[in-house]
């Protein structure tokens, strides 16, 4: 309203004639159609390049679709899906994906909670700390994984040197890529490194919206800072914890960049010499673009989607249950 008062009063303006038909029509058009014109670019682009591929992926998964033999294209029924059940590569990749997922998500979120709790103080250089812990989030995974690949190299890698410093030196240097457990730990370390700071900021943001008097009331019972964190802060930010658990599930089960670049020969998409750290996303890439079997890769994508849905649901329920009991 204040804006109109700043303008010259209408009587000083030239007496406006009755709005013409064209003007009225234009005004009508503007109020009725413009909203749709504004949202149309988003919906058109998103439908073509986002929604359509997802739907069409279902069609592809029911067909024989090999890039090398286009003449063999045709309906395959559920052959691609039934093949999944007996495909040991798929089950191995599923096992690896879950192993790395657990090793990365649990420490990641716990560390993020503790760091958020540290940040949730009156601090000097507040912006500096917050920006600093975001460096891993911005660093390209491809670039940072190459650094970690050197850290975890068998001969003279920094990880092995560190192990020997703290008294776990071996006669044979540990070949991190060779075994399932060690390659999983290496990859989980990279995932943790990237996402801890990001999640800490999400938690911090939630912590700062907790009403202060809740802490004041609880202090009567003599809750120390550590108990304060677990008894008051964590239950209060539970929705955000659930949110980060779901995000980590969606992201973690699609893990691709880290295992790709950790491999000594990234282009093979093998996930190690015996597929010891090949994830499902990697296997989809290999089946689709190395074996050139797009139909089967599409079926795998659907399987992965279903798995993500189920696991995200279970995790959300679990997190709610655990948090709710406190």
């Amino acid at each position: 309203m204040s804006l109109t008062q700043l303008r010259p009063p209408p009587q000083h303006a030239a007496p406006s004639p009755k709005p013409s038909r064209a003007k009225l029509w234009l005004y009508r058009f503007d109020t009725k159609a413009t909203p749709y014109v504004f949202i149309a670019p988003f919906f058109i682009i998103f439908t073509i390049f986002g929604l359509f591929p997802i739907v069409y992926n279902g069609v592809v998964s029911l067909r024989t679709w090999r890039l090398t033999e286009p003449d063999k294209d045709g309906w395959a029924g559920f052959a691609n899906f039934s093949r999944l059940f007996s495909d040991s590569d798929f089950w191995n990749a599923l096992y690896n994906t879950f192993g790395i997922f657990v090793l990365s998500t649990v420490p990641q979120l716990l560390a993020a909670l503790i760091i958020a709790n540290l940040l949730n103080r009156k601090l000097r250089g507040q912006a500096f700390w917050r920006i600093g812990i975001l460096l891993p989030y911005l660093t390209p995974v491809v670039a940072s994984t190459l650094v970690f690949a050197v850290f975890f190299s068998r001969d003279s890698g920094m990880a092995n040197w560190f192990l020997s410093l703290v008294g776990f030196g071996q006669e044979q240097p540990l070949d991190w890529r060779a075994a399932k457990w060690s390659s999983w730990i290496a990859i989980a370390t990279m995932v943790n490194w990237k996402w801890i700071g990001y999640n800490a900021l999400l938690y911090l943001s939630a912590m700062q919206s907790i009403p202060k008097d809740i802490y004041e009331a609880a202090s009567v019972d003599g809750a120390g800072p550590w108990r304060q964190l677990w008894r008051i802060t964590v239950p209060m930010i539970q929705p955000v914890v659930v949110f980060t658990v779901i995000l980590s599930t969606i992201g973690g089960l699609q893990l691709f960049n880290e295992p790709m670049m950790f491999d000594e020969n990234p282009q093979s998409a093998g996930g190690g010499s015996a597929h010891q750290f090949q994830t499902i996303a990697q296997l989809i890439y290999k089946v689709g673009w190395k074996d050139l079997n797009l139909g089967y890769a599409a079926a795998m994508s659907w399987a992965l989607f279903l798995i993500i849905l189920i696991v995200a649901g279970i995790n959300a329920l679990l997190t709610k249950r655990i948090g709710g009991d406190r």
Partner: protein
């Protein structure tokens, strides 16, 4: 004990333990990036040195020269490509998402809530699900192997619309929009002269986050651009790191070059990025 517990954590001053903890976290966060720089400036010997070398050497120019002149990697072109891709995606996301966000926040039209629900629903769909079909689609329209294939899917984002709607809802008063319309301003005019100036902070946040995501994207560019002369910098890096004999000082020199633009962004726009994430940004 009771001297500090009767205050909320955010009113408690950080003690030396807080600062020690945060310093350790910061070292843990920064060390891999710093070490990338150390190796990028060193000779081969530094990579295998025990204890590890932590002081930069004087070989940066030499290593960079090798990266940029390497055959079949197209590193220079890849950096230009990444800049083009990320800039176009950022500009387009800002424009289309703020338009749609404005419509959803301030304009009244039938099916508005239903359409917004669709936007929120698509937020949760994993983007990898459609990759196979996207590749087939791009093949049909002949875009595979070109930058168009990388740019097109990134032109808009559901998160961008969601974020813009939230921000415009708070930042632009309804009365301002209404009075402008009473004065005869068309909707496009309202968007241009009232909404856009009011949402500059949100544009900065969304722009930074979008640019970072576009720059770091790897899987889809790898699928559609691999083996062409037009890689993005991430695809070129994976080429650099492939092969039987990998020279790490060269690989990490390339990795460092591809990381520098983002470090610059963090230095310039760090506060905005922090704010964007704390306001509820979502992983891509």
């Amino acid at each position: 004990m009771t001297t500090f517990v009767n205050r909320a954590p955010q009113d408690t001053r950080g003690n030396w333990k807080t600062y020690l903890g945060l310093s350790l976290v910061l070292i843990f966060s920064a060390f891999p990036v710093y070490w990338m720089f150390v190796i990028a400036t060193s000779t081969d010997a530094a990579v295998t040195q025990i204890p590890p070398s932590v002081i930069p050497g004087g070989e940066l120019l030499n290593n960079l020269n090798e990266v940029f002149t390497m055959n079949d990697v197209y590193f220079t072109a890849s950096l230009i490509n990444s800049f083009v891709v990320s800039s176009v995606i950022t500009a387009s996301t800002l424009f289309f998402c703020s338009l749609a966000g404005f419509a959803f926040a301030k304009l009244r039209f039938p099916a508005r809530n239903a359409l917004m629900f669709v936007v929120i629903l698509t937020l949760t769909v994993p983007n990898q699900l459609g990759v196979v079909a996207l590749y087939i689609l791009m093949g049909k329209i002949g875009w595979n192997g070109t930058l168009l294939a990388v740019i097109a899917p990134g032109l808009v984002s559901a998160f961008g619309v969601f974020y813009m709607r939230q921000f415009i809802g708070h930042a632009v008063p309804d009365e301002l929009v209404e009075s402008a319309r009473i004065d005869g301003a068309m909707t496009l005019r309202v968007y241009w002269s009232i909404v856009l100036p009011a949402i500059r902070p949100a544009l900065a946040v969304l722009g930074l986050l979008t640019f970072v995501m576009a720059w770091n994207d790897f899987q889809w560019p790898l699928i559609t651009l691999n083996g062409t002369d037009f890689p993005t910098s991430m695809v070129a890096l994976s080429d650099l790191a492939s092969g039987n004999y990998v020279i790490y000082r060269r690989v990490l020199a390339g990795a460092f070059v591809a990381t520098v633009p983002l470090i610059v962004l963090l230095l310039i726009g760090g506060r905005q990025i922090v704010r964007g994430i704390m306001e509820g940004a979502v992983k891509s």
